[in-house]
Symmetry: C2
């Protein structure tokens, strides 16, 4: 099975959660826009392809299927690459955790875009300063404390007692938050999540990916952005 | 099968998307907090129950399963009550649409809470005024235009060519947006979505529910809130 992933060039963004999954799985995939340009996605968004209508990138083409929404894509890929346990209860729980990661990612975005996603950060910096304070002091501890507890509940190594796509996404969350909010993150006590992130980053396929040119650096066009003034 | 739904008392909120599903299905369920009080949810959030750890309400108990995140709950309920087509492609698409509805709902919340979900609306009214303008002028047409196109693509009656839980959620979105932003919604041309909402509201179980005391009125504690100053 070969996949075609559609996501904006130039940023990790939400596409990165899918990339980490297919890279760890050793799956064959094409990061289509990086080959053909961002315009290749227009026809999908305009409804000119068969199958599901995506609202926005990322979306994944797998045979005749078109699948959008990160958590939905991972819910599809997980069973196909042994990246989620087999039981119904575990798959529902994995998906629930991934959806909570998606909620966190949306809040990370809104830290630098609290007023309008279509305006520049510089045009909403005052509001962003206020939202960043709440994010650092209330939301980050709440979300990360939840995931820390989930890892503990899973036995201390993984929320699902075995490696899964959720672990890959938690690596990305930890890496992104450390890039965006280094000072705020230094204050968080998260031994299990930090250990998980290290172990996931050391998986051979993940390590090879992170060292490759396919892994773009974090930057201030993506979702996780480092603006020093938002990091207290 | 009898379900136990856990959600805050006093508001429709995110729990309403689950209620509409179980009501339309004619399923037996208990809206637990309305019987036992909101405190009944604390032990789940604290991790004192077996099964999945919820981040926040709503969550559904079904036998030994605990399932959180609205779209995940509907993805579980849909096949059990013939509220989603049988094919994998249709189920992925239904879930993708539901996740996009969840994204819209999160943005609706942030219109009145653009700075901090833990502060009162009155403490972030200036920022809310700005965000509301963007929501009315950019986000509402973008999201609803997408769902209108999805219904058209499904043949004009349903995005999935047959009644599904997505239709029930679209009814709630349309009702909520009309309550919160009556002036802005009056300007939207959405013939297929409006027709869908009317048809769904007329389904016997839905109509009976909407006329019952179980259906709380919209209010300014929920997600869809009517503040006239935010409706231009």
């Amino acid at each position: 099975m070969s996949y075609r992933l559609y996501y904006w060039t130039g940023i990790q963004g939400r596409g990165e959660f899918v990339r980490l999954c297919v890279e760890d799985a050793g799956a064959v995939y094409t990061d289509v826009a990086r080959v053909e340009g961002d315009d290749v996605m227009d026809a999908f968004i305009a409804g000119e392809h068969a199958g599901a209508l995506p609202f926005a990138p990322p979306f994944l083409a797998s045979g005749r299927l078109v699948i959008a929404q990160v958590a939905n894509i991972l819910h599809y890929l997980g069973p196909r690459h042994a990246l989620v346990p087999e039981s119904e209860s575990a798959r529902l729980y994995a998906h629930q955790l991934e959806l909570t990661i998606a909620d966190l990612v949306a809040e990370v975005h809104d830290v630098h875009h609290p007023v309008a996603s279509g305006l520049y950060y510089e045009d909403q910096r005052n509001e962003a300063t206020k939202r960043a304070k709440d994010f650092r002091e209330e939301r980050t501890p709440k979300f990360l404390g939840y995931f820390e507890k989930a890892v503990e509940r899973g036995g201390g190594k993984h929320p699902l007692r075995a490696h899964s796509y959720v672990d890959l996404s938690l690596l990305q969350v930890m890496a992104g938050l450390h890039y965006a909010f280094p000072k705020a993150m230094a204050k968080q006590t998260l031994p299990l999540l930090r250990d998980l992130a290290r172990r996931v980053a050391d998986r051979p396929n993940v390590a090879a990916y992170l060292a490759s040119e396919r892994r773009l650096p974090f930057n201030t066009n993506g979702i996780f952005r480092h603006y020093p003034e938002l990091d207290e």
